[in-house]
């Protein structure tokens, strides 16, 4: 398998690998190790100033409108999966917290030059990302 420069760089420097937890951290995962691809994201979301004061307690408050402060990930999968997870973890910091990828799966596929037959593996990355951000943005 030939990997492009971005894939190699992100795969070899997966500095965001790890886990984190706390009141502003939200976790989502997808896939399965037994199926060859598994990804977990821990996303820290900072509330906007105005949002943080709304409501009388944490319960019931929404993170919609919040900002991604930090991301950690774990990934069991091929280099494309690890590279995509690392890239997202780096690039998402500072972006609005929304339950969707910062760019489409097709765009990620082009960016990392992932063979079309491996598209399903990127969908696992997307599912894990959305699961984490859904936790951050939904009203509990």
């Amino acid at each position: 398998m030939i990997y492009n420069e971005l894939t190699r760089t992100c795969f070899e420097n997966a500095d965001c690998a790890g886990t984190a937890s706390g009141p502003d951290w939200f976790r989502g995962e997808a896939g399965g190790r037994s199926r060859g691809t598994w990804v977990q994201f821990d996303v820290q979301v900072k509330l906007e100033e105005g949002n943080a004061d709304e409501g009388n307690s944490d319960e019931g408050r929404s993170k919609e409108g919040g900002t991604i402060r930090s991301v950690r990930f774990l990934a069991f999968g091929c280099p494309h999966v690890i590279a995509a997870a690392q890239w997202l973890a780096e690039r998402a910091v500072g972006l609005p917290a929304r339950a969707q990828l910062p760019e489409s799966v097709q765009s990620l596929r082009r960016r990392f030059e992932v063979p079309i037959e491996k598209l399903g593996r990127l969908l696992v990355v997307e599912d894990a990302w959305v699961a984490a951000l859904r936790g951050a943005t939904r009203a509990d």
Partner: protein, 389 residues
């Protein structure tokens, strides 16, 4: 300039030995034996034909066959196809049942599947966890209309050696079944005697034994008057079994390589075996490491290992700048495609998918092993951290 990766993928292919390359080069240019070996009406052709026949004798001698039993092919894949389709079609009126093993190379399994589509019946034997197909399994699978048993000598993924002599005896007793042996990985690693073992058809490859790619042979037994229907028709070369202009340089390369392969077979096996065990000791210190296949029943140059908590493609990618090895899984599909050989041995999906095949050879050194242990250990630790294993 970066240091080249330690090459530990000799079961995939070997570099052409310098002596072999030199002999091949002598067959290519105007000053050399460039003639068509079939054009024996002039000196150029006669000279080429003589070299081809010398090479044929070298190949035959390396495997205990007679020169006139050797049919040149483009490699073991063609040899396997010629043997399986050739026997199936020639003997179709005396039976349409074939016996083979789940751990055979794809170039055996795919022709068998194609024959199934055409109406033949195929019994696929499952080896034990050690990778061995017991002769008793073959005996139980033989039927009155079995025309072919195809069992490899040395498995290309785990190195297990099958008892082909015992299987040959069973086939001979059956009267109707011929034994085909894929010996692509055998030459230079394990002694093989085509005649004494009672094999009917033997597939050989040049490039696994320091010869050129694109060269191989099928040895067809005259002792049992084995007949095959050809795949290729045309000029009638190779007694009509494989038409096409003979590639003098390829035949000469294969003959030279096979002659060299027999030099100090025992000493080389001991040297490579010691290196393999050093490699295993180094890797097993990681923990969560499993050896695939039975060491006692395998050739010394192959070590197949599964690593818990890592994905095979990532492991190969992580070490590729320092060590060249093969992974047991196919890496292109959306669905993981774990090694079917390891799955046949009973390995679960995860371990079958996380395997590496290290294969050592003539130019492997202690430094290569140290590099491999260091590179793989670092990569496994890093990937386990990334995956949270």
């Amino acid at each position: 300039m970066s240091t080249p990766a330690a090459y530990l993928d000799y079961a995939a292919t070997t570099p052409v030995a310098p002596e072999v390359a030199g002999r091949m080069a002598e067959c290519l240019t105007l000053e050399g034996a460039f003639g068509n070996p079939s054009s024996v009406n002039h000196d150029h052709g006669e000279r080429a034909a003589a070299l081809v026949e010398t090479a044929r004798a070298q190949v035959a001698a390396a495997v205990g066959a007679e020169p006139d039993e050797v049919v040149w092919t483009s490699g073991a894949t063609e040899s396997n196809n010629l043997a399986i389709f050739g026997i199936a079609h020639y003997y179709r009126d005396s039976g349409q049942h074939i016996v083979t093993a789940r751990t055979e190379h794809k170039s055996v399994l795919d022709p068998c599947r194609e024959l199934e589509r055409r109406g033949w019946r195929v019994t696929y034997l499952s080896p034990g966890p050690d990778g061995v197909v017991e002769p008793g399994q073959v005996a139980a699978a033989l039927q009155p209309d079995t025309v072919l048993v195809s069992v490899m000598h040395v498995n290309n993924e785990i190195g297990t050696v099958q008892d082909v002599a015992a299987v040959a005896a069973l086939c001979a007793r059956s009267g109707n079944a011929r034994l085909h042996v894929d010996a692509a990985q055998s030459v230079g690693k394990r002694a093989l005697d085509f005649g004494a073992m009672g094999i009917d058809l033997l597939s050989l490859s040049a490039h696994k034994a320091y010869g050129p790619k694109g060269a191989g042979a099928l040895v067809v037994s005259r002792r049992r008057s084995v007949q095959i229907t050809p795949l290729l028709y045309g000029g009638g070369q190779e007694r009509g079994l494989r038409s096409g202009t003979l590639a003098t340089h390829q035949a000469v390369g294969m003959g030279t390589a096979f002659a060299l392969a027999g030099v100090d077979l025992t000493g080389e096996a001991e040297r490579v075996g010691r290196l393999r065990e050093l490699l295993w000791e180094g890797l097993s210190a990681l923990g969560g490491v499993h050896r695939n296949g039975a060491a006692a029943r395998s050739v010394p140059h192959i070590l197949n290992v599964s690593f818990e908590g890592v994905e095979g493609e990532s492991l190969v990618a992580a070490v590729r700048t320092r060590v060249a090895v093969s992974t047991g899984s196919a890496c292109t599909s959306a669905q993981r495609d774990a090694s079917y050989v390891l799955r046949a041995l009973g390995r679960d999906e995860a371990l079958a998918e996380s395997s590496l095949r290290f294969s050592l050879g003539r130019y492997s050194s202690g430094a290569d092993i140290e590099t491999a242990v260091d590179a793989v250990s670092q990569a496994v630790r890093r990937l386990r951290r990334i995956s949270g294993a």
